[in-house]
């Protein structure tokens, strides 16, 4: 494989992980997009605008719309495939001449927020050298808190630019990951005035368009704006494509294709060298078949056999090069053929200036694949297999996995994933690994226990349900696989125990057992994730109420582990130690440990991760002890938000109890009561809540006595109100109560409001509970009341 390492800017920093300077994993592979050596792919293909093709006309209408649209913050080109969006953008880029355009050709692998922002930062950096350096460094971490760390830094850099800049995102419809949309929304909301975004897509993007439209920040070009006029059709067909059609023929074509660019272009190709174009056009005009279907079939049919075969068989490739095509087709001379095809304009787009890499225009590629599927379906897996082999030799793991999966070579794909995932995970590319796993059928995962571990581990972070996790753990625990895993993890048994220990779900006792087992199995060679297991042990001991036992493993952890190497383990350890210190009323230690944990989490970009919830919780509680209730509430609410995934019910209950204490401290007794009642509902459903049950009980008692003390200072209920109160525990409606007491419904209603106010209740049930606690109502003696 012959790729040049092109750099747009010499990189002056060594941003590789200090503990692992080469950034390579055990197998010597470095995941692409590392700042030390920008992925050559990235630099020479995705970030270069396609050169405008000869033979495509300039269109005044859309061009002036685009030009006007650039004044807006966001200019959106939203039109179906084959409308001419990329062409318009490429033409504009070539004439823009200001050199202030950053271009990104998006593809499916950008559906990973870390990867997307690396690409965005690199693109911006290519135009404005100072921008994005800090952001790219932050994106190296195991996980990046994109909004708070990466984007803020990027936006800060952009604030300082001297002259306007345009960022073009082509094919945004390929982005479907919700975090990508969220972060782009954040980016748009805070975009400095000098930066303009140009987005082309086939599908309305989930961005705040209505809001932007209302504020005059949005310009749009839609399908209707891209329709060719008859003059433009004539300019394309007779001018650029050199046909000699009559006005009437041009009119008919424009009508039949409805001005659709791809349709007109295909028609032009179909008409080349025809003796009687009018006859063809008449037939086409009178035919009901779908334009692309009809014409693509025709264009293909008229190609010489060699070319047709080439087109069909290479359509499985996302990117084409001479050597790759030679391998896939088991032939020679593909490089020359590609050049020829590109020149004759058969929907082949060069991706770089060296004419080394190409791709098919999306629509044409799709049609070719359909044709291939219709005629040579049996060959498709073989073609993918050959492509996988080629990429494997070249070291492109992502493409290898893609083609192996597409070839149905799931065993190979799974083996690759098992070997390489850790390097990607450590670089924050969890979404990429997730996608790989999604591409494997269940049977393939079941047949490859190390991959089951990857699926279980990644799944835990993605909020997989307990049954899903159990299924995968069963695969790992039944397996006869022995020894070290391809990623270096000491054994499957360790992996299984670790997975059980790291996410608590609903059984503290089980987690404690799992954590102990994991540490036993970690082995003398420190396995990856060994310290995670130790952190999990400390956490489980704390949640079991065994504070004295929790301290030694946690103290060892924080003394030995470096933030750069094992950030998750370290911050968990610090957070749990902080909570432990808090339990022993050592407020100072609690605060300093929690603050250290948060600082590390921020630097490592982990603050938005579910596993970081405990860090926020520890700091929140430490702040509460100091009396800083407002900040404490913020932190605890943040923790609660992060704990919303399935497996974190225990933590959620814990956070609710602590948050209730903060509300209590504020004097908001009803608020505290609501939170405790939610915590109570959660704890009821836990198989083993550990120390939480006792904590909840304690907190509830404190709240109850506070309520009683407060009630004594409130205005007492009147006789009439008491009479109504006595009927509240029954199932009688307001109307029925009014009949019972011989008073109007309205009177009863206002009396009930007064009761609620005095008891600080918002519902009938609450009022009854309060009244019982205050001794105003007897405790229930039989069910239902």
């Amino acid at each position: 494989m012959n790729r040049h390492l092109t750099r747009l800017h010499p990189s002056t920093e060594s941003a590789a992980n200090p503990a692992n300077p080469s950034g390579k994993d055990k197998l010597g592979h470095r995941p692409p997009d590392t700042i030390g050596s920008p992925d050559p792919w990235l630099v020479s293909t995705k970030l270069v605008p396609p050169a405008p093709r000869a033979g495509l006309i300039a269109r005044a209408g859309p061009q002036s719309l685009l030009q006007a649209g650039l004044d807006a913050k966001l200019c959106l080109l939203d039109a179906p495939a084959g409308s001419g969006k990329t062409t318009l953008l490429a033409q504009w880029c070539a004439t823009a001449g200001t050199g202030r355009v950053a271009w990104i050709s998006l593809d499916e692998s950008d559906n990973d927020p870390t990867r997307l922002w690396i690409v965005m930062a690199e693109a911006l950096r290519s135009v404005e050298p100072g921008v994005g350096t800090a952001a790219l460094r932050a994106l190296q971490r195991t996980s990046a808190d994109h909004e708070r760390v990466v984007l803020r830094s990027l936006l800060n850099d952009l604030n300082g630019i001297g002259s306007p800049l345009v960022l073009v995102l082509d094919d945004y419809h390929l982005i479907t990951n919700p975090t990508c949309h969220q972060t782009l929304t954040f980016f748009l909301d805070h975009l400095p005035a000098r930066v303009h975004l140009l987005l082309s897509t086939r599908v309305g993007p989930p961005l705040p368009l209505a809001r932007m439209r209302a504020k005059g920040e949005l310009a749009e070009l839609r399908a209707a704006d891209f329709q060719f006029t008859e003059e433009e059709a004539a300019a394309l067909l007779n001018g650029a494509m050199g046909l000699q059609l009559t006005t009437e023929d041009v009119e008919r074509l424009a009508e039949r294709t409805e001005g659709w660019a791809a349709g007109l272009y295909l028609a032009g190709l179909s008409l080349r060298g025809r003796e009687d174009p009018s006859a063809f056009i008449a037939a086409f005009h009178g035919d009901n078949r779908h334009v692309a279907d009809y014409l693509a079939a025709d264009v293909l049919a008229r190609q010489p056999e060699e070319i047709r075969t080439f087109l069909l068989r290479t359509s499985i490739l996302r990117r084409l090069s001479g050597p790759l095509c030679d391998e896939v087709l088991e032939t020679e001379g593909s490089a020359k053929l590609l050049e020829r095809l590109e020149r004759s304009n058969l929907f082949l787009l060069p991706l770089d200036d060296r004419r080394e890499w190409y791709r098919y225009h999306h629509l044409f590629g799709d049609l070719l694949r359909l044709e291939l599927g219709s005629h040579e379906a049996a060959l498709i897996p073989t073609l993918h297999r050959r492509a996988a082999a080629w990429h494997r030799r070249g070291g492109d793991i992502k493409e290898t996995i893609y083609h192996a999966t597409a070839a149905g070579e799931f065993t190979d794909a799974a083996a690759l994933i098992a070997s390489h995932w850790l390097a990607y995970w450590r670089r924050g590319r969890r979404a990429t690994v997730s996608r790989w796993i999604d591409g494997l059928p269940e049977e393939a995962i079941a047949a490859n226990p190390p991959v089951a571990f990857v699926a279980a581990w990644i799944g835990s972070f993605d909020g997989a349900s307990k049954p899903e996790r159990e299924r995968l753990l069963a695969v790992m625990e039944d397996a006869t696989w022995q020894g070290v895993l391809p990623d270096g993890v000491s054994s499957l048994a360790f992996g299984a125990a670790l997975t059980r220990a790291a996410i608590v779900f609903d059984d503290v006792g089980a987690v404690l057992q799992a954590a102990r087992r994991a540490l036993q199995l970690a082995g003398p060679e420190r396995s990856p994730f060994h310290w995670m297991a130790q952190a999990a042990l400390g956490q489980a001991l704390y949640l079991s109420g065994r504070l004295a036992e929790a301290r030694p493993p946690l103290e060892e952890l924080i003394a030995r582990v470096s933030a750069a190497k094992q950030p998750y383990a370290l911050i968990t350890g610090l957070a749990v130690l902080s909570l432990t210190a808090g339990e022993e009323d050592d407020g100072q230690t609690a605060t300093s440990l929690a603050s250290r944990a948060v600082a590390i989490a921020e630097v490592q970009g982990l603050t938005a991760e579910p596993l970081c919830g405990i860090v926020h919780m520890a700091l929140g509680w430490a702040l509460a002890r100091q009396g800083n209730l407002t900040q404490a509430q913020e932190r605890l609410e943040w923790a609660l938000e992060l704990f919303r995934i399935d497996g974190m019910a225990v933590h959620r209950a814990h956070a609710l109890v602590l948050l209730a204490a903060v509300h209590h401290g504020h004097g908001d007794l009803p608020g505290a009561r609501t939170l405790l009642s939610r915590a109570h509902d959660l704890v009821e459903q836990l198989a083993d809540p550990g120390v939480l049950a006792a904590l909840l009980e304690q907190r509830s008692r404190m709240l109850a006595s506070a309520t009683r003390r407060r009630a004594k200072t409130q205005a007492p209920l009147t006789e009439r109100e008491l009479a109504v109160l006595r009927l509240l525990p029954t199932r009688l409606s307001t109307r029925q109560i009014s009949q019972e007491l011989h008073v109007s419904v309205n009177t009863i209603r206002s009396q009930i409001q007064a009761i609620y106010r005095k008891l600080e209740a918002t519902t009938r049930t609450e009022a009854v509970t309060q009244a019982r606690q205050l001794g105003l109502l007897p405790e229930p003696t039989h069910r239902g009341l």
Binding site: P80, A81, G82, H173, R202, V203, A262, N288, R289, H290, V291, A292, D293, A297, H362, L363, D366, L367, R369, L370, E371, G373, S374, A377
Partner: protein, 70 residues
């Protein structure tokens, strides 16, 4: 209860090569339109099919569950 039968109608009459794009569905053409009909497992499946329609540059006319078998 099994999957629902859906009928997705697009403009333009499609040749049978498009069958490959809509696995498990049958294509029938009439009056300048094509009906893509077949069992749809769930919403995700349906959206996947609709996504394919868009990817192929086809114009969507209607999407309806049918009561009769395909």
């Amino acid at each position: 209860m099994g999957p629902t039968i859906y009928q997705i109608v697009v403009r333009g009459e499609l040749s049978q090569r498009y069958v490959v794009a809509f696995e498990g569905m049958t294509l029938t053409t009439r009056d300048g339109k094509t009906a893509i009909t077949g069992p749809v497992t769930d919403q995700a499946h349906l959206y996947g099919l609709l996504g394919r329609v868009g990817d192929l540059g086809l114009e969507l006319v209607s999407v309806n569950p049918t009561l009769e078998p395909a």
